[in-house]
């Protein structure tokens, strides 16, 4: 598609119409604005005439940069007025994907929009030309499932609160359950593995107790953590994980706490590490200490000898 180059008034661009916007990055535009001032516009945006205005197909940030530079006119490539939606969408996606790899959120958005014109297999076949990489059918299906998630899923995926794997997982759940997880991940900040652990524990606790995840989410103990405005999202994640683990593994959690209390009761110094067996399946407790000097070594041994008299030690075993 070769479009003629025009200079148009920025006022003639309908900035509110973002139907072809694929890039979700809202970075600081000042550097781009500065660069355009210094070197000029290397690659003009593409616009589409629509009624008495034009809408942006590609180059949203460049136009924003022009505005920052207080320019009133901008050179653009203008598409033919009779161009169809599909061609504009293709242009929008390829302009970005051949500049840099799309993020998951951008891929989801692109595939979702393309799916109005192409089926999954057609998208797969055309993917190298559109996305600058081959996409397999299963991945495309995953993207479409995730793309069907309601708000605020796209924003959560974009800002990293909901990982691709977690989104894929929850996209298979029923609507109420999806809402539960979107609410949770709106309020916490967790790595991919921790997100998956939270999803797993909520689903398994619910299944075991014969309740819906929504009912578990409604419990006061969970709400108190998630809706605590005084805690930052990372701390809420820690508290939520602890709470869920205690519900998922009540006996193990209780034993861990009891043994830890007894170990603390031994009053061992910080250089001595006294570790119970993992999950208490083996009987092997592990004890170790570090010492830089003979005196430190002696102090550790004395500390351990003192612990022999402590009833807590016998209770541990």
């Amino acid at each position: 598609m070769s479009n003629p180059l025009h200079e148009i008034k920025i006022a003639d661009i309908d900035l509110a119409d973002q139907r072809y916007k694929i890039s979700l990055s809202e970075y600081d535009i000042s550097f781009l604005a500065l660069s355009i001032k210094e070197t000029g516009l290397i690659s003009p945006p593409i616009v589409r005439p629509l009624e008495n205005k034009v809408i942006i197909v590609s180059g949203f940030n460049r136009i924003r940069a022009y505005l920052v530079n207080n320019e009133t006119k901008i050179p653009v490539y203008k598409t033919k007025p009779d161009i169809d939606e599909y061609q504009c969408l293709l242009t929008a996606i390829t302009q970005l994907s051949f500049k840099r790899p799309l993020t998951h959120a951008e891929l989801i958005l692109s595939i979702k929009r393309l799916n109005k014109f192409l089926n999954e297999k057609q998208i797969r076949d055309k993917s190298p030309a559109i996305f600058n990489m081959e996409l397999n059918l299963r991945f495309i299906e995953d993207l479409l499932n995730i793309g069907a998630l309601p708000d605020p899923a796209p924003a959560l995926i974009h800002n990293g609160n909901l990982s691709f794997k977690s989104a894929k997982k929850i996209s298979l759940f029923e609507k109420d359950t999806i809402d539960v997880f979107l609410n949770i991940f709106s309020k916490i900040k967790a790595s991919n593995n921790k997100q998956l652990e939270i999803i797993l524990h909520i689903m398994e606790i619910s299944a075991r107790e014969g309740i819906k995840p929504k009912d578990l989410y409604s419990k006061k103990i969970i709400k108190d953590i998630l809706f605590n405005e005084n805690k930052d999202p990372w701390l809420k994640t820690r508290d939520l994980r602890t709470c869920l683990f205690e519900q998922r593994f009540p006996a193990l959690s209780k034993t861990r706490k009891t043994v830890q209390k007894k170990i603390t009761g031994l009053k061992l110094n910080k250089k001595i590490k006294f570790m119970p067996p993992e999950n208490f399946e083996s009987r092997d407790f592990n004890i170790s200490f570090t010492a830089k000097t003979h005196d430190e070594f002696t102090a550790n041994i004395r500390n351990l000898v003192d612990a022999l008299e402590n009833d807590s030690l016998k209770e541990i075993f």
Partner: protein
């Protein structure tokens, strides 16, 4: 599940053994040269496990007929001997490890009773007690409806003195065995569970009452019996339910005719979980308090196992103080805390079981 497809290895001769099987399955066999065809037939299905349960493949056992139970590291094994007569099962228990054990799972019947005969003759000539079972890779008695093997085995074991045959089942398929001259050398064993677990997790198996009634009938024909509480499943109220099952055992059976009762809580290879979640969507069996065991299998948190075992053992002992109860794959701590002793030496548990086998089945005691 009803078998709807029958494959037979072309190399298998159509002798009376196979003709009998075909007449029982009532399907036109598809003679094949390449096993891959069966694998593909099963794997191409959306649910290969279910497909495999309805697809019978008659073939030759290309491995050893008699082999030692593989056991597992860190947990005490009973030194069982496996007689390899077939694989997989037509029943559909959610927790069944065979779903994940075979790749793909195939319901195989190993043709050639003469191979069994030869393998067993070797065992019978040894100066050692063997406890031999066919229920490790399949249910021993699903085959009673299809083949002559169970009957053959009972007769084969009847007139020797160093081997006990244990046929383990969740069926009530004992009809053809009742009138046989078993000479006390065959133990009919039932895997038992609570009615709640049987109805929710053991699809297409016989009910608890039916199993115990079958056991009663077997006892009346002089068969010695065994029971296996494996897997014990922990759920709210399970202790009471298991105690009721124990009471029912002794309502039906005289304790002196029970050779042993084994106990083992549910444990599974991690990959089984996905299969259960996919195939048994209503099952919450894998959402108990499982931790990764030392053998890399998921096991209930040990204090929970110990608590349930203690209650079950104490209940069994109330009815039958002298009855041999043992653990399948448990460790020293569990043995000590629940039984008050641990068969530490290699082969010690096996020896305990051998002694019970000798006593109940009149095996040669000088071989102990």
């Amino acid at each position: 599940m009803k078998i709807d497809t029958l494959f037979i290895d072309k190399a298998i001769p159509l002798n009376p053994e196979i003709e009998y099987l075909i007449s029982r399955v009532k399907l036109k066999p598809r003679l094949i040269e390449n096993t891959k065809l069966v694998y593909d037939f099963i794997n191409d299905s959306g649910d290969p496990v279910s497909k495999a349960k309805k697809t019978l493949y008659v073939t030759k056992n290309k491995g050893a007929v008699v082999r030692q139970c593989p056991g597992t590291s860190f947990y005490t094994c009973c030194d069982y001997t496996i007689l390899h007569t077939g694989t997989f099962c037509t029943m559909d228990c959610s927790y069944c490890i065979l779903q994940a054990y075979f790749h793909p799972p195939v319901l195989q019947y190993f043709a050639g009773m003469e191979m069994l005969d030869q393998g067993l003759e070797k065992q019978f000539r040894q100066n050692k007690i063997f406890r031999i079972g066919t229920g490790e890779y399949t249910d021993s008695l699903i085959w009673e409806k299809l083949s002559l093997v169970p009957e053959f085995l009972v007769k084969k074991f009847a007139h020797q003195t160093n081997c006990l045959l244990e046929l383990k089942t969740k069926t009530v398929n004992i009809e053809s065995l009742l009138s046989l001259d078993h000479n006390g050398k065959t133990v009919l064993a039932w895997s038992l569970n609570t009615p709640e677990i049987i109805s929710s997790q053991e699809k297409a198996t016989a009910s608890l009452t039916a199993r115990l009634e079958a056991a009663g009938r077997a006892e009346s024909k002089g068969y010695k019996l065994a029971f296996h509480f494996d897997p014990l499943v922990i759920y709210p109220g399970c202790e009471i339910h298991y105690k009721k099952v124990i009471k029912q055992i002794f309502d039906h059976i005289h304790p002196e005719n029970i050779v042993w009762i084994s106990l083992g809580t549910f444990r599974f290879m991690p990959k089984l979980k996905q299969i259960i979640e996919k195939r048994f969507k209503d099952s919450s069996i894998c959402y108990g308090e499982f931790i990764l065991g030392l053998d890399n299998k998921m096991r209930y948190f040990k204090p929970l196992r110990i608590s349930l075992y203690k209650q079950i053992i104490s209940c069994i002992k109330e009815y039958a103080p002298k009855l041999l109860v043992y653990f399948c794959m448990e460790d020293e701590e569990v043995w000590e805390k629940c039984m008050g002793f641990f068969p530490k030496r290699k082969g010690e548990l096996g020896h305990l079981l051998d002694k019970s086998a000798v006593r109940h089945c009149s095996l040669n005691s000088s071989l102990l």
